[in-house]
Symmetry: C2
Subunit: 153 residues, 2 copies
DNA sequence: TATAGAATTGACGTAAACGTAAGGGTGCAA
DNA sequence: TTGCACCCTTACGTTTACGTCAATTCTATA
């Protein structure tokens, strides 16, 4: 069964679903579209983060999957683990107000924000220490007549 | 053979070496002194970063080892890998001017500094993105009457 | 129909710096 | 002699997010 020939995603002549305009794409196109590898998409599915339809064994991603993938990638970008992302997404309920999900997300976000700030502080420390060390090394290089005062011993 | 009874590091009645005042310590004291675990010290030795003497099978760390450990810990703090630290330390030659070592150190330091700055930029990005998301989530929480506009789909 | 291009599952490999457990030895104080 | 406080080596486990085959199958097209 032909779905979307590689290279033309718009003209879908498929009669897969009762809903028109489902815009199904296979894994290759999906990967290209979002700059991830096939392995990554399969991995996310294995971890329960994605759940594409199947045509036989072939994965078919809907725009729902695309939305989820976007969220995953955003989550990864801000430093959430896949586990965190899953926890937050698992709380999604299309019928409710999603208050719980939003609260959890906010809670995790606050913690992550704190971690990020801590990390930044550590990096700033490291930058300072490293700059100092470099100054010292430069000193020693400029005074190449003091064999005793080496940096390692 | 008794070397340094635990708790008194100064009064060494040992006749280990011909050099007086060697100030040898065993692994436990070394670990405590520098806030690392025994495993860490053994690991560093296994990786060729430390080379303590032995009394039978017992490791004895000299002040040379202490200096090296300090360097290792500084290196780790500024984000060098142990491999990098080893490369730099391996170039140390007590008889020379250590120009090569210093140059390598400076070179690696510059690269590491660049990495640190890049990382900091990434973190700043993440902080911004996360802050934006959080604002959006707070919005949605405050308008708990819009079921359609959920964060996950 | 042959062939290239896409897709599948399964499963081991990778990186870094140790953690942790197992099994065993040594010395010293009560 | 018991027991504790140290010490030793060996070796597998941990974490996270995939990478990298391998062997096979499906599909479209020239």
């Amino acid at each position: 069964m032909k779905l979307v020939s590689p290279g033309e995603a718009a003209a879908n002549t498929n009669d897969m679903s009762d809903k028109a305009g489902e815009d199904l794409v296979r894994i290759g196109e999906m990967a290209k579209k979002y700059g991830v590898t096939l392995r990554t998409l399969r991995f996310y599915e294995d971890k329960g983060l994605l759940n594409p339809q199947r045509d036989g064994s072939t994965r078919l991603y809907t725009r729902r999957d695309k939305a989820r993938l976007k969220l995953i990638l955003l989550g990864r970008k801000v430093g959430f683990s896949l586990r965190d992302v899953k926890q937050m997404m698992d709380l999604y309920d299309p019928t409710g107000s999603n208050t719980k999900q939003l609260r959890l997300t906010l809670d995790k976000s606050e913690k992550q924000l704190a971690r990020l700030r801590k990390q930044r502080a550590l990096i700033d420390d490291a930058i300072n220490e490293l700059s100092n060390s470099m100054a010292a090394v430069r000193q020693m290089l400029s005074e190449r007549s003091a064999p005793q005062a080496s940096v390692a011993g």
